[in-house]
C-alpha cells in the first residue's frame, strides 16, 4: 500500500473543497494540502448549480433581513449562530470570487447585479447568467492552480476513514487508474464530498452525488444530522430531472396548472402578482418546500398535466421575451430545447419537482468540526445547520465559500496544536482491514443481485415512501425495504475484476454508501412525527415545536438500522414563528 503523508487532506474538490484548499494555501503556504477527488475537479456537481449565490450587497438590504429570510425559510430548524455568521461573511466571500475572476453579471454601472430568489424579501442573489455554479467552480479550480502547496489526487476513490483513539488519522483511497491502494495520513481531514441525492430515482444530481464522504464519517461513528430533510426543487425537467433554475422564476417566470391557472395562490402564497412583475417572497418566489408541496396537492386534485413521463405543470416564461431570456437564462433555453424539445421563448416548459439537495449531512458545529477530533465537514455533505428544514435557493453556493474558509481556519489551528497528538501507530492495521473490504468485494463469486436492480428498488422505495409527503405506513415500508436491500447488497458480485478504472467496483461502493444513508433518511423521517419545512407527514400535519424543535441524529449500527437521537437547535434572536409567504406578509 502506498503511503502519503500530509498536513491537511481534503476529500472532494467541488466548491467547498476547493475553497478550503485555497484558504489554507493562501494563509499558510507552509502546510501541505492534499486535495482528493474521485473525479477531476471541473466535473464536481457544483458545476450544475445555475441560479446564483446570496449575499447582502445592495443598500436597500440588510444582514438582519437575510438572517430572517434564512431562519424562516428553514422553518426554525437552522442553528441561528451559524446563520448569523453566514450572512455576515457572505458578501466578503462573493467579493473575493470577483477578485479571483468570477464573471458575475453586472449592472450598467459595472457593479455586481443581483436577482430575486425564492424566500428572500430583498433581492440579493449574485449571479453569472444562469451558470453561476459552473463559473464559481471554474473560478475556484483555476485559482487553486496558483498554489504549489496544494497537491491534487484526481480520480482517487476514498473508501473509509482511519481512526485510532477516537481521532481521525486519515483515510484509505484507491487510485482509479491502477487500483493501487493509498493510505493517506493527515493531521486533519476535511470532507467536502457533496450530497446523496442519487438515492432517489429522479434528481437534478449528477451520477457522482452518492454521499461517499457522509457515509464514511457515519460508518466511523460520527452521526448524521437531519437527513430526513430532502429538498425537492420545484422546476426540474421530466424524464431527465435536469434542473431549471429558480432564477427562471426570479426573472418573472410563472407556474400554471392544466387550466393555465397560477395555482400557487391557493396555497397561501397569493395574491396573484402581475405577469412579469415579481413580488419577492410570494407566489412563484415562495420557498421551495411550499412550491413542491403545492404540486403534490394539485396532482391529488387532478390539476396537473399528464405527459408520457408523468404528471407535470407548466413553467411559463413566454412573456419574458427572447432578448431577456438569452441574456439572463441562456442555459435554461438550451436545456429546454435539447432535453425537452420545448423553446421557453415560445412555449411553456413542462416541469415537476425533483430531488435536488439534502439539508442533512454530517453533524458539524459552526466551526465545521464533527464530533471526531481531526475530522471536519463542509458543504452539502455537512449539516451545520445553516439550512434547517428547508434551504433557500442561492444560500448553498455561498455556504461552500463561507464555511470552506472557516473549516480551513479551524483545521489549521488544530494541526498546529500539540504535535504529539498526531500518532499514526495502529493505522496500518485499519488500512489493511479497509483494503480487505474492497478485495472481498472484488473477489466475491456466486452473486445473485445486480447493482442496477438494488439501486432501482432503493430509489423507488424512497420516492414512494419518503417523498414530498410521507406517512407512518409508507415510511415503515421504506425502512423495511432498505433493511432488506442492505442484506441483499452482500449478494452483489462484480463482473469486472480489473484494477484499471473499474466502474463496476466504484458503483458498488457508491451503492453501499447510498443504502446506508437512505436508512438515515427513512428512519429519521419515521421518527419525526411532525411536519416541518421539506419533511411533510400526512399523519402529523402540524409543526410540533414542543417535541421536535430539535435536530435528528442518526448513529451507524452496522447491519442494523441507525439509532436515532436528538440534538438541540441553537436559537438566538428569532423564536419560532409563522412562515408567511402571502402578499399580506410584512
Amino acid at each position: 500500500m502506498q503511503q502519503i503523508k500530509t498536513d491537511i487532506a481534503i476529500v472532494g474538490a467541488g466548491g467547498a473543497g476547493l475553497r478550503t484548499a485555497i484558504a489554507i494555501a493562501e494563509s499558510h503556504p507552509d502546510l501541505k494540502v492534499a486535495l482528493i477527488s474521485k473525479v477531476y475537479p471541473m466535473r464536481s456537481h457544483t458545476c450544475a448549480a445555475e441560479g446564483g449565490a446570496a449575499g447582502v450587497i445592495k443598500p436597500d438590504d440588510s444582514l438582519d433581513l437575510h438572517f430572517n429570510d434564512t431562519v424562516g425559510g428553514g422553518d426554525w430548524l437552522s442553528d441561528q449562530d451559524v446563520v448569523e455568521y453566514f450572512v455576515n461573511e457572505a458578501p466578503k466571500e462573493l467579493l473575493q470570487l470577483d477578485h479571483w475572476g468570477c464573471p458575475w453579471s453586472r449592472e450598467s454601472d459595472g457593479s455586481v447585479a443581483v436577482r430575486p430568489f425564492g424566500g428572500m424579501k430583498i433581492k440579493r442573489t449574485w449571479f453569472a447568467a444562469d451558470k453561476s455554479g459552473f463559473h464559481i467552480l471554474h473560478t475556484l479550480f483555476q485559482t487553486s492552480l496558483k498554489y504549489p502547496s496544494i497537491e491534487r489526487f484526481d480520480e482517487f476513490f476514498t473508501i473509509d476513514l482511519t481512526v485510532t483513539d477516537g481521532h481521525c488519522r486519515g483515510f484509505v483511497a484507491m487510485e482509479m487508474k491502477s487500483g493501487q491502494m493509498y493510505r493517506f495520513d493527515a493531521k486533519a481531514v476535511i470532507l467536502a464530498t457533496g450530497g446523496a441525492g442519487r438515492m432517489f430515482p429522479f434528481s437534478t444530481n449528477g451520477a457522482i452525488k452518492t454521499g461517499d464522504g457522509t457515509a464514511m464519517a457515519y460508518r466511523a461513528g460520527v452521526p448524521t444530522k437531519d437527513m430526513e430533510f430532502v429538498q425537492y426543487h420545484p422546476t426540474g425537467l421530466l424524464s431527465t430531472g435536469i434542473l431549471l433554475t429558480e432564477g427562471c422564476r426570479g426573472e418573472g417566470g410563472v407556474l400554471r396548472n392544466k387550466d393555465g391557472y397560477r395555482y400557487l395562490q391557493d396555497y397561501g402564497m397569493g395574491p396573484e402578482t402581475p405577469l412579469g412583475e415579481t413580488v419577492l417572497k410570494t407566489m412563484e418566489l415562495g420557498p421551495r418546500d411550499r412550491l413542491s408541496q403545492a404540486f403534490w396537492h394539485e396532482q391529488q386534485k387532478g390539476n396537473t398535466i399528464p405527459t408520457r413521463w408523468g404528471d407535470s405543470v407548466h413553467l411559463d416564461m413566454t412573456h419574458l421575451g427572447e432578448k431577456h431570456i438569452d441574456e439572463r437564462l441562456p442555459l435554461v433555453r438550451d436545456l429546454s430545447i435539447t432535453y425537452a424539445g420545448v423553446d421557453p421563448v415560445k412555449s411553456p416548459v413542462p416541469i415537476r419537482p425533483v430531488v435536488h439537495y439534502m439539508m442533512g449531512g454530517i453533524h458539524t458545529n459552526i466551526d465545521a468540526e464533527t464530533t471526531m477530533p481531526g475530522l471536519y465537514a463542509v458543504g452539502e455533505t455537512a449539516c451545520a445547520s445553516l439550512n434547517g428544514a428547508n434551504r433557500l435557493g442561492s444560500n448553498s453556493l455561498t455556504e461552500l465559500l463561507v464555511f470552506g474558509k472557516r473549516a480551513a481556519a479551524n483545521a489549521i489551528a488544530y494541526v498546529r496544536g500539540d504535535q504529539s497528538a498526531f500518532d499514526y501507530s495502529g493505522v496500518q492495521k485499519q488500512a489493511d482491514k479497509i483494503e480487505s473490504k474492497v478485495r472481498e468485494l472484488l473477489q466475491r463469486s456466486g452473486g445473485t443481485e445486480s447493482i442496477a436492480g438494488i439501486r432501482k428498488e432503493m430509489a423507488d422505495s424512497l420516492e414512494n415512501g419518503a417523498g414530498i409527503y410521507r406517512t407512518e405506513e409508507t415510511l415503515q415500508q421504506t425502512c423495511d425495504k432498505l433493511s432488506e436491500l442492505r442484506r441483499r447488497y452482500l449478494g452483489i458480485e462484480l463482473n469486472d475484476k480489473s484494477n484499471v478504472f473499474n466502474t463496476d467496483l466504484y458503483q458498488a461502493l457508491e451503492l453501499g454508501n447510498l443504502l446506508e444513508l437512505a436508512q438515515t433518511v427513512a428512519e429519521g423521517a419515521l421518527a419525526r412525527r411532525e411536519s416541518r419545512g421539506s419533511h411533510q407527514r400526512l399523519d402529523h400535519v402540524a409543526r410540533d415545536d414542543d417535541k421536535f424543535l430539535k435536530h435528528t441524529l442518526a448513529y451507524y449500527q452496522g447491519d442494523e438500522a441507525p439509532r436515532i437521537d436528538y440534538h438541540d437547535v441553537v436559537i438566538t434572536r428569532s423564536p419560532p414563528g409563522v412562515r408567511d409567504y402571502s402578499g399580506e406578509a410584512k
Partner: protein, 247 residues
C-alpha cells in the same frame, strides 16, 4: 412511448487483458428521447457492467462524457439516439489521447498544459475586499464572456489535427483560457502568460483548421480565441521590444 433501435459498437480496452483495443457490439432498444449516454447507461446497467466510461451531470455542463461517435467528438449526453436510429453508432474514446480503459482517456497532458498558461487573475496589486468589487461594465464582461463557457470536455483536442500531429501543442482549450484571462479587465497578467503562449507550441502551432470550433458543444469558439491570441501575442512581443512589456 415510441422506441428506437440502435446498435452501439463500442471500443473496449482493458490493459490487464488486452494487447489492443477491440470493438464490442450491443443492440439497444431506446426511448425516442434518449441521448447516446442513456443507451450506454442501459448497456452498463443491464447488459455488461464491465463497460467503463466517465459521466456525471447529463446536462452538458460537467464535461465528463466526451466520446467519438462515428468519428466525431461529442458529448454523449447531448447526442440524441434519434440521429442513429436503426443503425450502428461507433463509440470510441476521444481521439488524440491515450486510452486508459474502454472509453476513459488519459487527461494528464491537458491538465498540465492548463496549469502552464496561468489561468487565473494576476494583479500587480491585489484589490482589498473592503474596496468592494472591481467595476466591470457589461461591455467589458462581454469581451471575454464567451471564452468562460469552456467545460474542459476536450472535444476540441480530439478534433484538432495539429494536436494529433504535434503532441507538444498546448491546444485549443488551454490557450483559450489564457486569452480569456488576458481579455478580462480585472487581469493584469498578459505579460506573465506571454512566455508560454508565444512559444511555437503555444498559439503558433495552430493552423486555423477551425475543427475545434466546429465540435465545441458550448460554442466557445476556441479557433477565434486562438487567432485573437496570435495577434495579441504579436502586439505584446513588440511592446516587449520597446520596453512596454509590462512585466
Amino acid at each position: 412511448m415510441s422506441e428506437i433501435q440502435i446498435t452501439l459498437e463500442i471500443l473496449r480496452y482493458d490493459p490487464e487483458k488486452d494487447q489492443e483495443p477491440h470493438f464490442q457490439t450491443y443492440p439497444v432498444t431506446c426511448q425516442d428521447d434518449w441521448m447516446v449516454l442513456d443507451a450506454m447507461n442501459h448497456v452498463k446497467d443491464h447488459v455488461d457492467t464491465t463497460l467503463s466510461y466517465r459521466w456525471s451531470c447529463h446536462m452538458a455542463v460537467c464535461g465528463s462524457c466526451g466520446v467519438m461517435i462515428d468519428g466525431a467528438p461529442k458529448l454523449a449526453c447531448k447526442a440524441p439516439v434519434r440521429d442513429y436510429a436503426d443503425r450502428t453508432a461507433r463509440i470510441e474514446p476521444l481521439a488524440n489521447f491515450p486510452i486508459e480503459r474502454d472509453l476513459v482517456v488519459v487527461m494528464d497532458d491537458f491538465m498540465d498544459k492548463l496549469k502552464r498558461v496561468k489561468p487565473y487573475i494576476i494583479r500587480k496589486e491585489e484589490k482589498s475586499i473592503e474596496d468592494g468589487e472591481h467595476r466591470q461594465s457589461p461591455a467589458e464582461l462581454k469581451k471575454f464572456k464567451q471564452f468562460t463557457m469552456c467545460i474542459n470536455c476536450l472535444c476540441c483536442y480530439a478534433a484538432c489535427p495539429q494536436y494529433a500531429l504535434i503532441p507538444e501543442f498546448i491546444g485549443p482549450a488551454a490557450l483559450t483560457m489564457a486569452h480569456r484571462y488576458n481579455q478580462d479587465s480585472r487581469d493584469q497578467g498578459q505579460a506573465d502568460r506571454q512566455d508560454e503562449v508565444a512559444k511555437p507550441e503555444g498559439a503558433w502551432d495552430c493552423s486555423f483548421a477551425g475543427e475545434c470550433s466546429e465540435v465545441c458543444p458550448k460554442h466557445v469558439d476556441p479557433a477565434g480565441a486562438l487567432q485573437q491570441l496570435k495577434i495579441a501575442t504579436t502586439v505584446q512581443w513588440y511592446k516587449g521590444l520597446i520596453g512596454m512589456g509590462g512585466k
